[in-house]
């Protein structure tokens, strides 16, 4: 558990005078479920964009999956999976077509794609629906599908940006079971969420307030430190 897969020092992003992310530094280890918390507008999404190569940091350095954020963004992209808060599969393609496309653009070959897609459909219990348009699936299913598609190319790290927004509790439960399974296989999960019950599931949690990282510890230690019963109380105390 002590192999660093994400390591960031003084990462900063400025938009003009506004400092969206203010010198954050942290490490994430292999197989960890790392919760990335903060109020809306605290800078979570901007920080995540810098880690995934979508946005260039104004200053600071760091590495993701062993590659430099500043110079090797394209190499990082090969080694991460990403699932955004916006649903990012194509509604007008079938489940299979979506999976084939995302497998294809990560350079998997035809045989491997076929194998992976079949495995994926099986694990999602969608064997008979492979040729259905994604459009026709309920939201919870879409999110689970998006998560599976984001891992089709077996990335060592996966970034989840509010993956369970708008999903019912039962499906969220299934979703988190899947996350646990992936983490126990050594995959690192970097997840943002606004659901504090989900935060409890994380190995460690970081809290961002106004661009700064103000807390970083396990849920248990954070609750002790802030003398709170639930993560909800911790969040309200810190964010206020």
């Amino acid at each position: 558990m002590d192999q660093k897969v994400i390591s960031v020092k003084g990462l900063t992003k400025r938009f003009g005078d506004f400092v969206a992310v203010d010198e954050i530094s942290f490490d994430v280890f292999k197989g960890e479920i790392f919760g990335f918390l903060g109020a809306n507008g605290a800078g979570k999404t901007t920080a995540m964009k810098m880690l995934t190569g979508l946005s260039k940091p104004t200053s600071g350095t760091g590495s993701v999956a062993g590659f430099e954020i500043l110079k090797q963004a394209e190499k990082i992209k090969k080694n991460i999976g990403y699932m955004s808060q916006k649903f990012a599969l194509y509604d007008d393609l079938t489940i299979k077509e979506n999976a084939q496309f995302y497998g294809g653009i990560y350079g998997l070959n035809r045989r491997l794609i076929k194998l992976k897609v079949n495995q994926m459909l099986e694990s999602l219990n969608l064997q008979d629906s492979g040729n259905k348009l994604v459009h026709s699936l309920p939201l919870g299913w879409k999110q689970r599908l998006a998560f599976s598609v984001a891992m089709l190319h077996d990335p060592p790290i996966i970034f989840l940006d509010e993956p369970t927004g708008g999903v019912d509790p039962a499906t969220r439960r299934i979703f988190w079971e899947k996350i646990y399974a992936e983490a126990s296989n050594g995959r690192t999960i970097f997840v943002t969420t606004h659901y504090m019950d989900e935060a409890e599931y994380c190995n460690r949690i970081s809290m961002m307030v106004a661009g700064k990282m103000v807390a970083l510890d396990s849920p248990k230690n954070l609750k002790l430190k802030y003398n709170a019963k639930t993560m909800n109380d911790v969040f309200v105390q810190i964010a206020r």
Binding site: Y82, A88, L93, F101, G104, I105, G107, F159
Partner: protein
């Protein structure tokens, strides 16, 4: 290469799964061709004339007969009062008023010269020019006739005008307006549709959020752009084929030049147009913005394309503006090759300009497409 294959396949599946695409490639160009080539028409078919004959002589009746024998003149009213003519013109009932003064024949026989008056409503410039031109011609002919009659009275051989002009209309002998318009319209339709479709396509990915998913993947910019271009290249080709078939069957447009030359040029033009569409999409966040930007350019491009008004009659600065205008080159090319039968050597300038446009637009499109924010 494998990555490119998957990108292209996805784009094709998406584009051709869109139910609006098929009618757009077939019905839309046909309807546009039919409506525009019949309606967007500068041909003057009818000129309304008001005849105000205050003479009522053999002389005036002969002139009126000659005018009424011409098909395009439609005598809407006639009177013997000067004021009636003016009213007809003011009310828009007449395009031209012909005033024959009282005692015209008498004056002509005595002084051998009279004056008659044409009042022309120049609001409809085309009808005014064409109508008064025809009328002038009739009066000149009549003039000759009368002169020869008057002179023959004194037994002198009638002196005809020394220069007789005979017209021969090359490339479009019947001066068929549709022959002129359809090839140009075809160029315009293909260009506009393809540009809009391309611009909308990428912006749509931005709107629904899938572009972010693409941007965190290792897809290279050029792969993404080629994937976006190819389906629309095919659509452009299909549009052109449909348009040519319709043009041939419905309007019997001539196809004098090489059809391969047309498609070679189409290929280069489509690349330029696609590049332009991609460039627009890079500056728009919503489909609405994309349409507005595209509309801004398309409107200027069409009005300055020479499709409806000849480029040669534009002010010089506007003529320079037509150089980076793909529609202008396309329209000119289509007319030259289809109607005139131009060969490669005649249109190589257009190939060169279009090639440069393709390189410039696409380079800009790749440069301004950012995978990062």
């Amino acid at each position: 290469m494998r990555v490119l294959y998957y990108i292209i396949r996805k784009e094709f599946v998406q584009v051709f799964r869109n139910k609006a695409i098929l009618p757009m490639m077939t019905i839309l160009p046909i309807v546009q061709l039919i409506i525009l080539s019949y309606a967007a028409n500068n041909e003057v078919k009818q000129v309304n004339i008001h005849i105000n004959d205050q003479d009522h002589s053999h002389f005036s009746r002969r002139l009126i007969q000659k005018i009424q024998a011409v098909d395009i003149f439609h005598t809407t009213s006639s009177s013997t009062d000067h004021q009636d003519g003016n009213t007809a013109l003011l009310d828009g009932l007449a395009d031209i008023v012909l005033n024959i003064p009282p005692r015209a024949e008498h004056t002509l026989l005595r002084t051998r010269a009279i004056k008659i008056q044409l009042l022309v409503n120049a609001i409809n410039g085309q009808a005014a020019t064409v109508g008064s031109g025809y009328l002038n011609q009739i009066i000149i002919d009549y003039n000759k006739e009368i002169r020869s009659e008057l002179i023959s009275g004194i037994l002198v051989k009638p002196k005809l005008s020394p220069i007789d002009i005979e017209y021969s209309n090359w490339y479009n002998p019947e001066l068929d307006y549709k022959t002129f318009m359809v090839p140009g319209l075809l160029g315009e339709i293909v260009t506009v549709l393809v540009m809009l479709l391309t611009a909308m396509n990428i912006v749509r990915e931005r709107e629904i959020g899938t572009i972010e998913q693409i941007n965190v993947s290792p897809i290279k910019k050029w792969q993404f752009i080629i994937g976006k271009m190819l389906p629309f290249l095919v659509i452009g080709m299909i549009l052109m084929i449909v348009g040519l078939v319709v043009g041939k069957l419905l309007f019997d447009i001539p196809i004098r030049g090489s059809i391969w030359l047309v498609f070679a040029f189409l290929l280069i033009s489509l690349m330029a147009i696609l590049g332009m569409g991609l460039l627009i999409s890079n500056f728009a966040n919503t489909q609405q913005q994309a349409i507005f930007i595209a509309f801004f350019f398309v409107l200027i491009f069409i009005l300055l394309s020479g499709l409806f008004t000849p480029i040669e009659s534009m002010p010089l600065w506007a003529q320079y503006l037509t150089i980076p205008n793909p529609i202008a080159h396309f329209v000119a090319f289509m007319r030259n090759v289809l109607i005139k039968g131009s060969e490669f050597s005649d249109v190589q300038y257009r190939f060169m300009v279009m090639g440069i446009l393709a390189i410039v637009f696409n380079s800009l499109a790749i440069l301004t497409y950012k995978k990062t924010t």
